[in-house]
């Protein structure tokens, strides 16, 4: 896995995104890149905003590509407050505007755009793993 640890992460979302999107594991196809970029942004933004009090802490991100199955894996690891973003109920996307709440759409978009998304708490770290098959 090609990895990099960012510390601190406050206001570093763009830098973290640039590192990930420049990875040789990423596909060239613009439609796929859009979906992957959006999913990564939502996941990274969640950590940057909420994982650490005052935004002081690290985030390690990595990519890998299985050359045979063409499955791209993206992993995010942080040592912030234990939080499983997948436990939250999906927002009701059928509600009219006045019943819609602001927010809660980020992880929902990840779930829709990626093939799989999973969470584990390991060695005191939050680990979020997303995969996408990239043969388009």
């Amino acid at each position: 896995m090609r990895k990099k640890r960012f510390n601190p992460i406050k206001d570093k979302t763009s830098e973290i995104m640039e590192f990930l999107m420049a990875s040789p594991d990423m596909p060239q196809d613009e439609n796929l890149r859009f979906k992957i970029e959006l999913s990564i942004e939502e996941a990274v933004d969640n950590v940057v905003r909420y994982a650490y009090e005052g935004g002081i802490g690290w985030l390690e991100v990595g990519t890998s590509l299985n050359e045979e199955s063409l499955i791209l894996t993206i992993e995010l690891r942080d040592a912030g407050t234990p939080f499983n973003p997948l436990e939250k109920d999906d927002p009701d996307v059928t509600l009219p505007a006045h019943d819609r709440e602001i927010g809660g759409l980020g992880i929902y978009l990840c779930k829709q755009m990626m093939d799989s998304i999973s969470y584990r708490y390991e060695d005191g770290n939050n680990v979020l793993t997303m995969t996408k098959r990239i043969d388009s």
Partner: protein, 100 residues
């Protein structure tokens, strides 16, 4: 992200160019602030230059739509590229905002 707002008779025309993401959504919201005021707004948003939007950007459009509805106005978004449109579709925003 470049936001251009102009007036054409009673209509407010908005032209969006670039990306709306988590790093500039707050600034985008500030730039859209003038559209959150006034009676019976008639807002037309040209999205042909909008290349990317994340949930933080959607949040601003939900605020705008709620504000427009509360003032009995009209909000139309047009010329959305298919990738951006898919984000509006998946999140159900295509049902709460008129997209043509």
């Amino acid at each position: 992200m470049i936001v251009t707002i102009s007036k054409q008779e009673d209509k407010t025309l908005v032209e969006l160019n670039g990306r709306i993401d988590s790093t500039n959504a707050d600034k985008f919201q500030q730039e859209m602030e003038p559209l959150m005021q006034g009676e019976k707004p008639d807002i037309d948003v040209d999205c042909s230059g909008l290349t990317y939007i994340s949930s933080q950007g959607l949040r601003v459009f939900l605020l705008l739509q709620k504000s427009v509805m509360a003032r009995k106005g009209k909000l139309v978004m047009r010329n959305m590229n298919p990738r951006v449109k898919e984000v509006f579709d998946i999140t159900g925003f295509s049902n709460i905002i008129t997209i043509i």
